[in-house]
Symmetry: C2
C-alpha cells in the first residue's frame, strides 16, 4: 500500500546552483547527497516534512552524470523541471507486482537501489497519464543500540 | 516558512478517467472536488498522507474547463503530466513577500482562493529552475463546536 508522497524528482543542469536556489529562496537544506552511477545521476535530497506513516517527503534534485542517462536525455528534450513523482510503501515488491497485474508497465523486473539505500521501481508514464511514477521502500533505520 | 509538500498538481484531459486510474491502481480516493472558475479548472484532491506540520499532502488532478485557461494552454503544449508543485505555509503573504524581495517573480499581486478555501500564489517557473511553484495556506479548520 502506498502511504506517502516520498519525493518529487526535479531534473536540473547544475546541481550546486539548484541546491543553492532552494536554500536561498526557501531555506531548504541538503539532507543527503550521493552519486548513483547505475542511474547516471548526482543527486541531493532536501527533506521538507515528516509523514504520518513514519517516513518523510523530500525534493530530489537530479543532475545527469552522462548525457545518455535517462535523466540526461529527458533534460535535453524537456529542459529543467519535474522529472518524476514517488510514492512510499513498506513493500515495493508487493505493490509493484499488484500494479503489474493491473496492466501498468513496471520498468524493472526487480526493484533496484535508489537514494539512501532504498529499493525502487518505476511505472511507465504512458500508463500513468503522463506521470513517470516511482515506488520506494526506504532502507530500514538501524537502531542506535546496534 | 514552508513546512510541507502540500500537493502535486497534475494536468489531465479527462478528470473522471484520471481519478479512476488513481483509485484502481493505487487505492487513492477523492477527498474533495470542486470547480474553480477563476483558474478555469475542475479538480479532485486525493489525500495521500498527513504531515508533521499538522497539514496533509495531496495529489491535485486538474482538468481545464476552457481551452484558454492556464492549464488548458499548458495541456495543449505539453500533454498530460505534472503541472506544478505546491509547498504549504502558515502565512502565504509573508512568504510571498520575502521571496519577491529575493528577485523571484510572484505571479499574483495578492494571494487568491485555491482548493478548499486555501489562499495561494504562484512563482514564475523560469525563476525556479523550470518548476511552476505554488505557495498555499490552508483555510482555518472550523471547530466542530461552532
Amino acid at each position: 500500500m502506498l502511504t506517502r508522497i516520498d519525493h518529487i524528482g526535479i531534473a536540473c543542469f547544475d546541481l550546486d546552483k539548484t541546491v543553492e536556489f532552494y536554500r536561498a529562496t526557501y531555506g531548504f537544506e541538503v539532507y543527503h547527497s550521493e552519486v548513483n552511477e547505475e542511474q547516471g545521476v548526482r543527486e541531493a535530497m532536501l527533506k521538507i516534512n515528516d509523514t504520518s506513516d513514519g517516513g518523510a517527503s523530500y525534493l530530489q534534485l537530479l543532475e545527469p552524470t552522462r548525457e545518455d542517462s535517462a535523466v540526461g536525455k529527458w533534460l535535453a528534450k524537456n529542459g529543467e523541471g519535474v522529472h518524476h513523482i514517488a510514492f512510499g510503501t513498506a513493500d515495493v515488491d508487493a505493490d509493484a507486482a499488484g500494479i503489474r497485474e493491473k496492466g501498468v508497465r513496471v520498468l524493472y523486473e526487480e526493484p533496484r537501489i535508489g537514494s539512501m539505500g532504498s529499493r525502487i521501481t518505476f511505472l511507465h508514464p504512458k500508463d500513468c497519464h503522463g506521470v513517470l511514477t516511482e515506488l520506494v521502500t526506504s532502507a530500514p533505520v538501524e537502531s542506535p543500540e546496534h
